[in-house]
Every structure is written in C-alpha cells, then in structure tokens.
C-alpha cells in the first residue's frame, strides 16, 4: 500500500569526505562521514536542489519511511513529498545529519580512526560555520554548484542564514523559519542548564561513557524536558494539559500527578534512549557560539553586505524561544542592504514548535514561495 504524496521507502547514504576540514576551534578533522538522504531528482541543469538543515535534535531523515512497517516517517514528512509544499516532483531535496551528530555522521560516538576507540570527550566542538563547510563538501560531491534553496527552522534557520553569508554565490534562496541572528542570554541560560544536567549525571564520565557501557540518561532526559517546556507556549500547554491529573483525585505522594508531568517524562525517556548526550551538548554549543556579528563588533547589516540570496523569513507569534522580534532583526538587516525579502508572522499558539506543525497558512506560504522559486530559476 502506498502512502498518499509520500516519498515512499527511503534509504540513508553515507558521504565519506577525505578532504581535511579545519574547524573553527582550530582542530583539523582529517576525514569525516556525513549521513544524508535525498528525495526527488536532480535535474540536468543541477539547479533544483534544496538543502534542508535540521534543528537541535533533528537529523537527515526528513521524509518517507525506512520500511513499510516503520512507525514514524521523517521529521518533516508533512512538508516534503510529491505535491507537498516542498514538491519532490520538482525539487531535489537533501537532508544531512550535521557533523557531530548521532545519526550516522561522524560524531562523539563514532570511532576515531587514530585511536580505534570512540571519540567521546575528544570529539571537537563544531560550529555552524563548520557545518556549512562540511555540507558544502557534500553538495559539491553531489554535483551541485548552486542551491536553489537552503531551508531550516530554529537552529536549521540559522544555518540557512550562515549559508548565505558564507557562500553567497551558492544560495539562491534562504528560507529561515523561527530563527534568530544569535542567541539571547536567556537562550544560552537554558542551554547551560541542559548541559549541566548532562555533565553532572554520574554516568557522564566527562563524555567517555561508551566504554563503560552506560549513558547519562538521567541528565539527558532532564535536558530534554527543559527543552520541551521552552518549545511550547504557556497557552498551548494550558490547552493541551491544563491542570488535568492522571488519576481521579490527588494521590498526595511523589509520583507524577499531572498530565503535563507524564508528558514531559515520556518525552524525556524517549529522547534519552535515542539521542547521544555528547551530541546534545555539542549542538547546544553550536547554537551558543553562533553570532555573525561576532559579539556586536560588526552590525548585522554589515555582515549581510555580500549576500546574494533572496529570503523568506517566517516567525510565529507565540514563539518565545526565538520570538518574532528576533526574526525582524534579520529582516531589518536584509532591508538595510536592499536584499529581496518577504516576512510573515504567523499567528500560532504552539510556540517554537509551530515550525514543525502543518498549519494551513504556514504551508501555503511555503508552497507559494517554492513555486515562485521555480518561476525565477
């Protein structure tokens, strides 16, 4: 049975890059692997490729299923597929697991070829700039010299911005959703609490827990629970859970009493079983370090001076993690440079997570913009 408008059964691929990568931290990565997936066909002119960058806990599996019995499709399956807003009949869509990730790309749990042991604590800190350089190696390998678009939400949106700064001639369109030009102190604070939860877990062992056969699940689940609170708005939590309790009446003990507690515990457990703690730490670090203005040494408008891409910027009214105000900073810096930009502020109750929802207006905007991209190619 085939699913309607699905890319169908998909398979991950591995790109082995033998060209060394000099990281922002100064470390030289002699070789690395990136796991990626593609959907649709690259056309003869090689000008219909859209790179989708993932957020904090995302990966390269954007759409489709690995087998007919696979319970969940890729994380952006609602958006990507034949006749979906990002139409794989028209576009060649690429998903890539970022360097340092835990879904097949070289990361802390990979084997360091030099020591033949997992990298663990020795895996370097990677930045968004490093990711863009490694993603660029992948698109070169795929025979693509210009990307029709780079698309991402949250941390993925920051990558789309950085792509247009770092490789201005290679990005025709940047679609930046629920993102910000850098993190605020509050954002960094949340990340630090998440990291502290992990590094103070007794199983963490400074990041070298693989050899001990344990994982810092307690810390990782707390980190994820905290994250989830910040991805939702007060209103949507109220709507979904309110003060609903699990049992008929209060139990007056330490067990989970309210439904919101169960939800967070469930999300925390699920995540702690799937995700690598060292990767989580590195993803939050990449977020913290991202700042094209380099600590306000340069104005964002100045940083954007050489951008050649056109932009679509989308924010969500109830997103307090990356609020509309932050998106408007990007819009202003683009307008200052007379760069073509459209900006939509979508009324949504779901908070930061709204960028993963299938809201009609949201998807219509993306569908229309992708159509426009085909017209102006």
């Amino acid at each position: 049975m085939s699913e309607k408008n699905s890319v169908g059964i998909v398979k991950s691929k591995i790109f082995i890059c033998k060209n060394p990568l000099k990281l922002d931290s100064g470390v030289l990565l002699k070789e690395y692997e990136l796991s990626y997936e593609t959907y649709g066909k690259l056309n003869a002119k090689c000008d219909n490729a859209v790179l989708v960058c993932h957020a904090l806990s995302g990966n390269h599996h954007l759409a489709g299923r690995y087998s007919a019995s696979d319970k969940c499709p890729g994380w952006w399956d609602s958006l990507i597929g034949p006749n979906k807003p990002l139409d794989t009949n028209k576009f060649f869509v690429i998903g890539v697991n970022n360097l340092g990730g835990s879904h097949g790309s070289t990361g802390p749990k990979s084997i360091n070829p030099k020591t033949k042991k997992p990298w663990g604590s020795t895996f370097p800190i990677v930045t968004i700039q490093d990711w863009i350089n490694s993603q660029n190696a992948l698109i070169n390998y795929l025979g693509i010299s210009t990307l029709s678009g780079v698309l991402g939400g949250s941390l993925g949106g920051m990558q789309a911005v950085q792509w247009s700064i770092q490789y201005p001639e290679k990005v025709k369109n940047a679609i930046v959703i629920a993102a910000a030009p850098n993190l605020t102190a509050q954002n960094i604070a949340f990340n630090e609490v998440a990291r502290q939860a992990i590094v103070t877990d007794t199983s963490f062992n400074k990041g070298d827990y693989y050899k001990l056969g344990v994982t810092p699940k307690i810390g990782l689940r707390i980190a994820r629970m905290l994250g989830h609170i910040t991805y939702l708005s007060d209103d949507i939590m109220g709507q979904k859970f309110g003060r609903k309790i699990k049992n008929k009446k209060y139990q007056y003990n330490l067990n989970t009493e309210f439904e919101i507690e169960s939800y967070l515990n469930y999300q925390g457990d699920k995540f702690a079983n799937e995700f690598d703690a060292n990767t989580y730490i590195r993803m939050t670090k990449a977020l913290d370090y991202f700042d094209p203005t380099n600590g306000n040494k340069k104005k964002l408008s100045t940083v954007f001076k050489n951008i050649q891409s056109e932009f679509l910027i989308i924010s969500f009214t109830s997103d307090w993690r990356f609020s509309p105000k932050r998106s408007k900073e990007i819009v202003k810096a683009l307008l200052d440079n007379n760069i073509k930009v459209s900006y939509a502020e979508i009324t949504a109750t779901s908070g930061h997570d709204a960028f993963l929802m299938s809201d009609d207006r949201y998807h219509n905007i993306l569908r229309s913009y992708f159509k426009r991209m085909l017209g102006t190619k």
């Binding site: 056109e310 819009v331 307008l335 502020e345 219509n364 905007i365 229309s368 426009r372």
Partner: protein
C-alpha cells in the same frame, strides 16, 4: 489592509507619473501587490510591499512581491531613514489610527510620499448624508457598521492637516471616474492624490 476593490484603482497611472523611473518604492498596505507590479512594469521600479492582512499578504507573495508582514501603526523601524525614493500609502490612510505619525514616518523613510484617499466631501457622499445615511460608493464600499475607515476626511481637511504638520504638498490631483477634476474639487472629486515632502 487594501481598503477598496482593485477594479476601482484608476489612480495607478497618476501615481506612475509621479514615481521616477528606476526608483525604489515602498508601498504601505500593498494589498495583493497590484500597484507595485504596475509600477514595476511602467517605471521599472524596485521595492517592497508592507501588508498586515494574511490573505492579501499571500496574494502579494504569489504575485512576486517582496512583502513584509508588519502593522504600519506599530512603527516602521525596520526601514532606515531615507532608504526609499518614494513611499506610497494608497487608499489606506482613512483606516489609520494615528494619521500624523504614519505620514511623518513615511517622510522619514522616503524622499517623497504619495498619499491617496477617497474624498468624503464628494457631492455624492454629501447627498447620502443629507438623505440621512452614511455614504457608500465605489470608493467607500463598506457599511458604517463594518468599515475599517475610521478617519475619513475631505480634501479641505487634508490640506489643513498638511499645513498644520508642515507637510509640503508638491503635487495634487483630484479624480472622479478616471477624469481629472479642476473646478470645486472638494465637491466634485471622488478620489484625492497628494504628493508630499518634508518642509
């Protein structure tokens, strides 16, 4: 935010006469982007639209307009001082809360400002009021109870307003049914177009 139906937009050609070729234009309340596309075709302008309404915004995007969804009245700080050649507010001023502030902002952003509005002093409107009803017409299509038009004015009102706030009028054209009105414009003109600069 576009207040009147597009079929009635015969003011475009006059606006196009006032807009220099190859200039950079900001259209506030751009609706579906019809005016900007008209100016792109006639005068080779570049520019942006601002539109608050979701449906109009999407239509503008589909019509290839680079369109920013912000509320004009919550401030236009996204736009730098003197960053546009022309800033247009076409048939939208009558729905603004704070008319004076909006025009001042426009004059800050643009070297030149174009404002158009339906003339409430038009004889047909006066007649409807004399007959005891709030006027409705092609320019004023809304019933009193659902109109977004909270600050309707006459040509005389607008002249006084410009004088009071020291907005210099550099061009004025009054139209009725696509024809220029020269005699008693405040009585015989349905639509007013003004070109302004700061004093």
């Amino acid at each position: 935010m576009s207040i009147t139906k597009k079929s009635s937009r015969y003011d475009f050609s006059i606006i196009a006469d006032w807009v220099p070729s190859d200039s950079k234009v900001l259209d506030l309340g751009c609706g579906d982007g019809e005016l900007l596309n008209y100016l792109k075709a006639k005068k080779n302008v570049t520019g942006f639209g601002v539109e608050k309404d979701e449906l109009n915004w999407l239509d503008a995007l589909k019509n290839n307009i680079d369109v920013i969804q912000i509320d004009i009245e919550s401030g236009l700080s996204e736009f730098e001082t003197n960053s546009f050649d022309v800033v247009i507010l076409s048939k939208t001023i009558q729905s603004m809360q704070n008319t004076e502030v909006v025009i001042k902002e426009m004059l800050r952003i643009g070297k030149q400002v174009i404002v158009t509005f339906p003339n409430f002093g038009y004889w047909k409107n006066r007649l409807q009021i004399l007959s005891g009803k709030m006027p409705t017409s092609e320019e004023l299509p809304y019933a009193w109870s659902d109109t977004p038009n909270i600050h309707l004015c006459t040509i005389e009102d607008f002249d006084n307003f410009c004088q009071k706030y020291q907005f210099k009028i550099t061009g004025r054209k009054i139209l009725t049914a696509k024809k220029s009105v020269e005699i008693f414009p405040n009585l015989f003109g349905a639509l007013a177009l003004y070109k302004l600069v700061s004093k």
